[in-house]
Symmetry: C2
Subunit: 358 residues, 2 copies
C-alpha cells in the first residue's frame, strides 16, 4: 500500500497504534480522571496556553462548527476570511447559524495582509467575532495570524477570534495564549498523527464568558467539554481509545519539544518547494504554509502523474479540491513526512515525469 503523504489523514505511527491497544477503561472512574488530567496538561503545552482546553469527538469540520455554534448566534455580525474550500465552509456555516456574515474573499492561493484586512473591515463597524483559518489546507496557504490577531485586538477589544488551526497546531509556531486567540480548534488526523475522529479546543476566559447558554445535554456546545475537563471528566461517554492515541502523540511532542517539531516540518517544506521548482514545478500558493505544499507541474496530466506516483512509486498525494480539481497536487510535511521522504518523492516525481513524456 502506498505511503500516505496526503495533508491529512497522515499515517498513524506504530507507537500510536500500540497506545490504542490498551484496554478500554470506564470513563466514570478515578483511573480515567488521572489519565485525562495528564492528557489535558500535555494538550495545554501543544496549544501553548495555561487556560482551558478539552477534547471532543468530531472531524475538523465539526470542531470549527462547534466553536462557531457555541460563540455565535443568529443575528451576530461576524467576519470570515474566505480563501479556499475550508475557510469558505466556515462562512457558509455562519450563514447556517443565521449570522450576518462578512465574507472576506480572496482568490484561492492568495492571502489577506493585515493592513488590507483592517481597511476592509472598517466600514462594517463593530463585530461580534472573526473566523480565521491559519493554514488553508485546500490551497496550502498561510495567514499571518499573529499580526492579524494583534491588530484586531487593538481595533476591536471585545472581538471573539476563532481559529481553524487544523493543519497548524503541532506543525508550525502557534501560541494560543500569547496571540490572544479566543478559541483554537485542531483535529487528530494531521500533525497529531492519529486517526480522524477527535477535535481539540483551547478557549480563552473571554471566549468562555461569551458563549451561548449551555444546555448540559448539548453535544455541540464546547462549554460542556470545558466544564467537565475542569474535573478531569467528559460530559458524554468518553472516546477512551481515540484519547489514548492522542495522549501518546501529545506526550511525544512534549518530549521532542515543539521547536524541534516545527523546524522539522519547516525543513521538509523548504526542501520540497526548492526541489519541485528545480524540476519544472510551481508552488501554487503565493504564501505557502509549512504543513503542506500545493503545487502544479508545468507540463503533463496531473491525474496521470498522481497515479504513477502512487501505483509505481508508492506515494499517495492529494489532488486539488473544488476549483483546483485536476490542477494541483498537495503533499504533507507534517509528522513523519520529513525532509528525507521529500528527497525520495522529488526523485520519484522526476522519474514519473520522464515516464509520462516517454
Amino acid at each position: 500500500m502506498a505511503t500516505l503523504l496526503t495533508p491529512g489523514p497522515v499515517p498513524v505511527p506504530p507507537w500510536v497504534q500500540a497506545a490504542m491497544q490498551q484496554p478500554v477503561i470506564h470513563h466514570r472512574t478515578p483511573e480515567f480522571e488521572a489519565f485525562y488530567q495528564s492528557f489535558l496538561g500535555d494538550l495545554r503545552y501543544v496549544f501553548q496556553t495555561s487556560g482551558a482546553v478539552a477534547a471532543s469527538l468530531g472531524s475538523g469540520t465539526f470542531g470549527v462548527e462547534m466553536a462557531m455554534y457555541s460563540l455565535f448566534q443568529k443575528g451576530d455580525k461576524i467576519a470570515v476570511l474566505d480563501m479556499g474550500k475550508f475557510s469558505g465552509r466556515w462562512a457558509d456555516y455562519g450563514e447556517v447559524l443565521g449570522c450576518e456574515v462578512i465574507r472576506l474573499q480572496k482568490p484561492w492561493g492568495e492571502t489577506w495582509q493585515v493592513d488590507e484586512l483592517m481597511e476592509k473591515l472598517k466600514p462594517h463597524g463593530q463585530l461580534k467575532g472573526i473566523v480565521v483559518t491559519h493554514s488553508e489546507t485546500s490551497t496550502g496557504t498561510i495567514v499571518d495570524l499573529e499580526a492579524i490577531a494583534s491588530k484586531l485586538r487593538v481595533a476591536y477589544p471585545e472581538i471573539l477570534i476563532v481559529v481553524d488551526a487544523i493543519t497548524s497546531v503541532g506543525a508550525m509556531p502557534y501560541y494560543h495564549e500569547a496571540w490572544g486567540i479566543d478559541c483554537t480548534v485542531t483535529a487528530s488526523q494531521k500533525a497529531l498523527m492519529n486517526p480522524a475522529g477527535l477535535v481539540l479546543f483551547a478557549v480563552s476566559e473571554n471566549g468562555r464568558q461569551a458563549m451561548r447558554p449551555n444546555d448540559p445535554g448539548d453535544f455541540q456546545h464546547v462549554e460542556n467539554y470545558l466544564t467537565s475537563a475542569e474535573k478531569y471528566s467528559f460530559p458524554f461517554t468518553a472516546p477512551v481509545i481515540p484519547l489514548y492515541g492522542i495522549a501518546a502523540a501529545l506526550a511525544y511532542i512534549k518530549k521532542e519539544t515543539l521547536p524541534v517539531i516545527w523546524q522539522a516540518c519547516h525543513q521538509s517544506a523548504q526542501v520540497f518547494r526548492r526541489g519541485v521548482e528545480e524540476i519544472g514545478g510551481e508552488v501554487f500558493s503565493q504564501y505557502p504554509t509549512d504543513s503542506l505544499t500545493a503545487f502544479k507541474m508545468k507540463d503533463g496530466d496531473i491525474h496521470a502523474l498522481k497515479s504513477i506516483l502512487e501505483v509505481r512509486y508508492g506515494w499517495k498525494l492529494s489532488g486539488g479540491q473544488g476549483e483546483l480539481k485536476g490542477k494541483i497536487l498537495r503533499i504533507s510535511h507534517m509528522a513523519e513526512a520529513h525532509e528525507g521522504i521529500m528527497q525520495q518523492v522529488l526523485a520519484d516525481l522526476k522519474l514519473s515525469q520522464a515516464r509520462l513524456r516517454a
Copy 2:
C-alpha cells in the same frame, strides 16, 4: 484490571482491536468505497432494513441529537417518552431545538403501555414526531416498541418515529423496516463491542423526505451522511480506524446471525435476574430490558458492594445515575457478558454480601 460489565462501554474483543490495527487508508479512494459498501450492507442486516443507513462520529447522545436536529425544527410539536436519564435528555434537547415538547413522564423503572400512551396523546392533536427510547439504560427498562410503533402509525400516518436503540440494536429483536421506524440510532460501545465514538443510523424514505434543508457543510445533519453513503463515501473526513472496528463487529454478528446473538443476551439476562432474586436482590425495573439489569440488594451499602465486586472479584458494574445514585447497580448482558459470566458474578455477589455482613 476489572472486567467491564458496565452497560456500555463493554470490553472490546481482541479481534475488534486487531481490525483497528489495519493501516489508515485515505477516505477519497476506491479502496474506501469498496470497504464502506460492504460495511453498509452488513449494517442493513443488523438494523434489519433494506433502506438507507450510515455512520457518523459521535457518542450515543450526539446520535439522537443529530436525528432530532435533522427531523424537527423550532415550533414542531413532538412527544417524548421520558422514563429515565437518557429518554429525559431527549425531551430536554427537543426544548433546546425550540420544539413544543409533550413530555410523557413515568417514574423511573416504569414503562408506557401502548393503550395508555395513545390515550395520553389524544388531546394533543396532530404530532410532527415522537422520540422513543427502546431500552432505557439508566433504569434497565424496555418499552414494547413494536406495538407502540404500529398503533402510532395507524393513528398518526405522517408521524416521524425516532428511536434511541442504543442498548437494543444487536442485543434484542429489532426490526427497523418491519416496525415502520423513521430513524433508528445506535452507538458503537454497546452491543457492537467497540470503543465509544461512532453512531449508526437507519432512516426511512419518509424520514429522509421530512428532513430540514441540508447545508452540505453541516456536520450534525443526518442527510449529509445518507447522501454520501449512496456513493459509498463519507461527507467529512472518514474516521477510518473506528469504522474498521465496527466493520469487524457487523461481520461477526452477520456470521453468528442475529437470533443467536439475541438469544445469548436474553439467556444472560434471565440467568442473572433469577439468580439475583435468589440471593436477596431485587430487579429494579418492572419491565426489564434484556441488554442490562438494574438491581437493588436488600441489605447493605450499595457503594461498598460495588467496590468489593470490583476490587476483590474483578467485576466492574455501574451504579445508578441521577435519582438512582447509590441505590442500584447495573450489569450488562451484551456481547461477551454471557450466561457463564453471570453465574460467576452471582457467586461473587453472594460472597461480597457475606463479606459485608461479616
